[in-house]
């Protein structure tokens, strides 16, 4: 018995309605030539030297390590400089379940990253809670806490799938607006407002300062 596996066709791989739409939206009001070119240059640079922040909590992290090892070798795409400090990284690849106890730490790590920053939700756990959806202490998808740019399903995703997610992120970056691109930040603000989660560290600090002022 022969099993035929339908692999992804090249056209499908390139087919990104969602990104096309994004480009259209961005260009709706036209682009200044100089700014547009600069944008392109910067985005080309960012997208080809994306440095990941090592954030592996569980099984998916092992597959990510395979990505860094000899066979898959993500250095080919400019991803190899895995950083251990969020301040030096461009994106968080969330590998593994996020629990209630870890949630504040993840939030804080995200806040510590420098702009521009991106998030890939890698694995079923980070997309939706995955096999642990019914648990009493698992966050049902990291998008409850931080905004996500690319969702990557799988339990764990194969290294090839991880590449696909990373390249998808590259594509997204290539069309973003760096100058005058306020929309990303705006969206992020909206995101945090809509989530109505407990105050962030910064907000908490602000409120304590306010309290202090009031006391005075």
């Amino acid at each position: 018995m022969e099993v035929k596996i339908k692999s992804m066709k090249h056209e499908d791989f390139k087919d990104n309605e969602y990104i096309d739409k994004l480009v259209e939206e961005l260009n709706a009001s036209g682009t200044n030539v100089v700014v547009g070119k600069l944008d392109q240059l910067i985005n080309w640079g960012i997208s080809n030297s994306l440095w990941p922040f090592c954030f592996g909590t569980s099984c998916c992290a092992i597959e990510f390590m395979c990505l860094g090892a000899a066979r898959y070798d993500m250095a080919r795409f400019g991803f190899e400089v895995a950083r251990n400090s969020p301040r030096q990284a461009d994106y968080i690849m969330c590998q593994g379940t996020i629990t209630y106890r870890m949630a504040p730490a993840l939030k804080r790590l995200y806040e510590q990253m420098a702009e521009p920053k991106y998030v890939i939700a890698c694995g079923a756990c980070t997309v939706s809670g995955g096999p642990f959806k019914n648990s009493y202490c698992v966050v049902k998808g990291v998008d409850e806490i931080i905004p996500v740019d690319v969702y990557l399903p799988g339990c764990p995703p194969r290294p090839e799938a991880m590449f696909y997610a990373l390249m998808q992120l590259q594509r997204k970056i290539k069309v973003q607006k760096f100058f005058g691109g306020v929309n990303r930040k705006e969206k992020r603000k909206e995101f945090f407002e809509s989530k109505q989660v407990a105050p962030t560290v910064e907000q908490a600090q602000d409120s304590t300062i306010e309290n202090l002022n009031n006391q005075e």
Binding site: M65, Y100, V138, I145
Partner: protein
């Protein structure tokens, strides 16, 4: 069994016995338990606390203890319970078996049972502001009670003890984990060298570590609770997400436990395949720990070497199971599919390659001056301590313990294959590393024999027994252990025998080896350099999701 009953009856006349299960079950009232435990340990040599499981029987809350005599490998099973649900209290045995310290904290976390005379009664997995005890049957799961909190935990240093005086009055004494004048540094929870989300708080003097407080639970997913609402075949999935580096082995263990409860006979071919998979897994796990240990000391190239060979094993899994990790291959009654036609050839090839490469590894790293200086005589764990802290697996064997479950309590077909249990003496980081390197050779030895056995079975055969569609277990409890890549992995399964349309486990507990391993971090790191904390923990080699479950 009968003489245990007599001996224990003399020691504690109140004890009740039940010899119908696998092991002798002794039920003791709590007031007598500590005295009996002392006698069991000192007089009857039950020095290894194999498992400590909290259970909620609705009218009672209690703990099941499994004790092993390390000389004769006899096991007994003790039950202690209390009917008080408002303020359940039992006596602690952490002064007798050091491993009970963390395990009792786990029970406290899950069931709210407080242990009298326990030195440090804090939650272990959940945040200290958590409301309720999740594994109780009447736990309120509504998200309003415990929302996702994004603020930091408060008062981490606060702890308390319950002290009992001669008259049996219990008083609460508050305390601190670290004194104010101690200099405490924080490692984790997101630190590359803790191999996952583990957090240590180390009190240091100059550069020497004085005390390490382990803060765990950053990847606690509540697997045991979730299992209680799934059918037996569904629970299998979680075993692979505990210690993902011994996925097959853990799954094998739960399968064996359920099969034991059902009284199911597994075809020989299936057992051979399972054993082969187990050993491949172990090989892959040891290769990974080689890679990580070397990388933690700065030898990045060696890491790549370890991973290069692991890909061979991944390929074998990929071909037969259809996945590289989380294979979901074993099932109740056998395995889900027969092996790939190339299986035997691939396994043999893998054995040959790894045998060759192991020489290279030794040349590259084992004799290296830096490695030797950083590992030899560092982080010593004595044999007594290893047993006391129930450290098993390669780390236990490096301290000279005879603790390989494959030899002590043979399961599957391990009594048909010929291999040696690698035991070293010094118990330092170097020995822990060397045990793994030597064990890889043993793995290869077993794998070659497995290939022969599989060849003798023919190309095709029966790989799964006839299993009823609905799996129903009689009321009772079972304990099964196997040798995981990091130590003895155990499954405690309790069934209430209730023939609901889909029967679910009443209680399923995973006794993970890494949980015990992390218990010795404080002991082994004490008076060592803070920089060596990393090498020591890397050589102990635990997997965090296995600790937290």
């Amino acid at each position: 069994m009968a003489d245990f009953q007599e001996q224990i009856g003399n020691l504690c006349p109140e004890a009740q016995f039940d010899a119908s299960g696998e092991f002798l079950l002794v039920t003791v009232p709590d007031e007598k338990w500590h005295d009996l435990a002392t006698a069991l340990k000192n007089e009857m040599h039950f020095d290894y606390l194999t498992a400590l499981v909290g259970v909620d029987w609705k009218e009672e809350l209690g703990v099941m203890y499994y004790l092993t005599n390390t000389e004769t490998q006899d096991m007994i099973h003790v039950k202690v319970a209390t009917t008080d649900r408002e303020q359940p209290r039992l006596h602690s045995v952490s002064d007798l078996w050091a491993v009970a310290n963390y395990q009792e904290r786990e029970v406290f976390d899950f069931y709210g049972i407080e242990f009298i005379n326990h030195p440090d009664m804090r939650r272990f997995f959940l945040r200290n502001d958590w409301v309720g005890y999740p594994l109780r049957k009447d736990y309120d799961e509504s998200p309003e009670k415990n929302p996702i909190r994004l603020d930091d935990e408060q008062n981490e240093d606060d702890t308390y003890r319950l002290v009992e005086d001669e008259n049996g009055n219990v008083t609460r004494v508050d305390g601190k984990v670290f004194e104010d004048e101690e200099y405490v540094i924080n490692v984790g929870p997101q630190h590359p060298s803790t191999h996952g989300v583990m957090r240590y708080r180390a009190s240091i003097e100059g550069e020497l570590v004085k005390k390490v407080d382990v803060v765990s639970g950053y990847i606690h997913r509540g697997i045991e609770k979730m299992c209680e609402s799934l059918t037996y075949p569904q629970t299998l999935l979680y075993t692979e997400r505990l210690d993902y580096m011994s996925a097959h082995i853990n799954r094998h263990c739960l399968c064996l436990c359920i099969e034991k409860a059902m009284g199911l006979e597994v075809p020989r071919r299936a057992e051979i395949i399972r054993m082969t998979m187990d050993e491949l897994m172990r090989l892959s796990s040891h290769l990974l720990s080689y890679g990580c240990l070397t990388m933690d000391q700065g030898a990045t190239t060696a890491f790549f070497y370890g991973f290069r060979e692991r890909e061979l094993i991944y390929d074998i899994f990929d071909k037969t199971c259809g996945a590289r990790m989380s294979m979901s291959y074993m099932t109740i009654g056998g395995v889900v599919a027969d092996v790939h036609p190339d299986f035997i050839k691939d396994v043999r090839n893998c054995c040959d390659v790894v045998t060759e490469k192991l020489k290279e590894y030794h040349k590259l790293f084992s004799g290296n001056v830096i490695a030797v200086n950083r590992m030899k005589g560092v982080g010593i764990l004595g044999k007594e301590d290893a047993i006391n802290y129930a450290v098993t697996g390669p780390s236990g064997r490096a301290s000279g313990c005879h603790c390989d479950v494959r030899k002590c309590h043979p399961y599957s077909l391990y009594n048909e294959v010929d291999f040696d249990e690698v035991i070293l003496e010094n118990g330092d980081s170097m020995d822990r590393y060397m045990v793994r390197m030597k064990e890889m050779e043993e793995c290869i030895k077993i794998l070659r024999q497995c290939c022969d056995m599989l060849e003798a079975e023919g190309i095709e055969g029966e790989y799964i027994a006839k299993v009823p569609k609905l799996i129903k277990l009689p009321a009772g409890h079972w304990y099964q252990q196997v040798e995981g890549s990091r130590g003895a992995f155990g499954v405690y399964l309790e069934s209430d025998g209730d023939p609901k349309p889909f029967q679910k486990p009443y209680r399923l507990h995973f006794q993970s080896p890494c949980f015990n391993l992390v218990g010795v971090v404080d002991l082994t790191c004490k008076d060592n350099l803070i920089a060596d904390l990393i090498t020591i923990t890397a050589s102990i080699d635990y997997v965090i999701p296995d600790i937290d479950r």
